[in-house]
Amino acid sequence: MEWTNSILQGVLVGGLYALFATGLSLIFGVMRLVNIAHGDLIVLASYLALVATQTLGVGPLTSLLLIVPLMAVIGYGLQRILLNHTLGDDLLPPLLVTFGLSVIIQNGLLEVFTADSRKLHAGAIETASWPLVSGVSVGALPALQFVVAVLLIAGLQALFYRTAIGRAFRATSDDPATAQLVGLDNRHVFGLAMALSLAVVAIAGVFLAVRANFDPAQGPSRLIFGFEAVIIGGLGNLWGTLAGGVVLGVAQAIGAKIDPGWQLLAGHLTFLAVLAIRPEGFFPRVKH
């Protein structure tokens, strides 16, 4: 029963990893940008929520009403002011600029908030849980996180395939030069994609900050979890990404059950095993 519990926890946390991954693959899909600062921006969202909860006296979940639009604005601005200038045939500028951004965000957070671990407190929901069968129970918060993750991914799927902005994303991803010919301003479309990416990871960042401690140095591991979920799931498929996140979460849970020191290692080794056996991931992009 202990094992069932661990695996269940792994599945539920996998929803968060899937959200990290969705933000990452969204911008890669639309503009072929790999954002090394992705994880640091997730941590930034956690700190912004911390400030919001402390100054406004609201709970972390309520703070999302402020943090999500704020992160979207930051994303749009970042893209228009900085990242759009790095896009082109050369791989180096976007990688190195986002790497520099990662260093800046980490050290900026360190300067303002110190290296101390922080946590967001959501009150009663943190301890509430429902027993499923004897010995197996599901926490209200992890369950809520997972449901939110699934709903968000469903929402993004609908946005991509049923709305004008989703069409614009896909068209720009296919052929940016021709997208301009139909009246799409790439710089704006890219800005919207980054805004959406950061809005999604803001939600994941705040949820994770309720669940576990965070500090300024945690960005890279968030980036890596998201990245591993993307590759395990297969590029360019949102439901695959959710599966990738769940696989990663379960692998970490099993690793942690064997030995606490093996939690992260088990996740990484699962990722490397997938890369070795099935480099296209479990759910590669569906070709039309």
Binding site: D174, T178, Q180, L181
Partner: protein, 235 residues
Amino acid sequence: MRDAPLLKVADLVAYYGDFQALYGVSLDIAAGEVVAIVGANGAGKSTLLKTIAGQLAARRESVSFDGVAIGGDPAFANVRRGIALVPEGRRLFPSLSVEENLLIGGQAKRAGRWNLAAIYELFPVLGERRRQPSTSLSGGQQQMVAIGRALMSNPRLLLCDEISLGLAPIIVKDIYARLPLIAADGVAIAIVEQDIAQALAAARRVFCLREGRVALASETKDASREKIAAAYFGV
């Protein structure tokens, strides 16, 4: 403003990187007029259309649309003004369906008579296949989507780059038969073709480019085969 041409190109110079492709091209197109732009491979025809559409840099005054200097403005801004380009090679969006390709053409949200229903009336086959991925269509049908996508922006000037390329003659004839319907309500059309006969039959005036310059500008009825051949080959 009625007398002013819709598009005026004056002494246009254009480059691909370091390579100069246009050496002072001047021409104009009136509203509702169909013109043909012909010339050998490498004469500068596609460059001219791309520069007018805004895909290549140009001096501001060298392109005027409806009396406003627009040279060098980005393509997305020119679409909103009413200049639509049907690009060479069609360039449909492969991950979009036929209908989505058309819908995204309407992205610029200009008012006018072209909407999905009107496009499906113009090219009925597209209506039948609207749910299919654009890549599953035949070459001729894909060209219809490309033209339809450009029309969805309700342009005042439609630029067609080599729309007959790689298509069977019967399909080309079919597509050209629709051009008068498009021009009927005052839309100006510029057709770039290597197939001279097809273009001349559809156009009122012809411009022949050679080595990045206008070698001949004439009413089609006055342009004899010999005159065009001389301008085309420079002999």
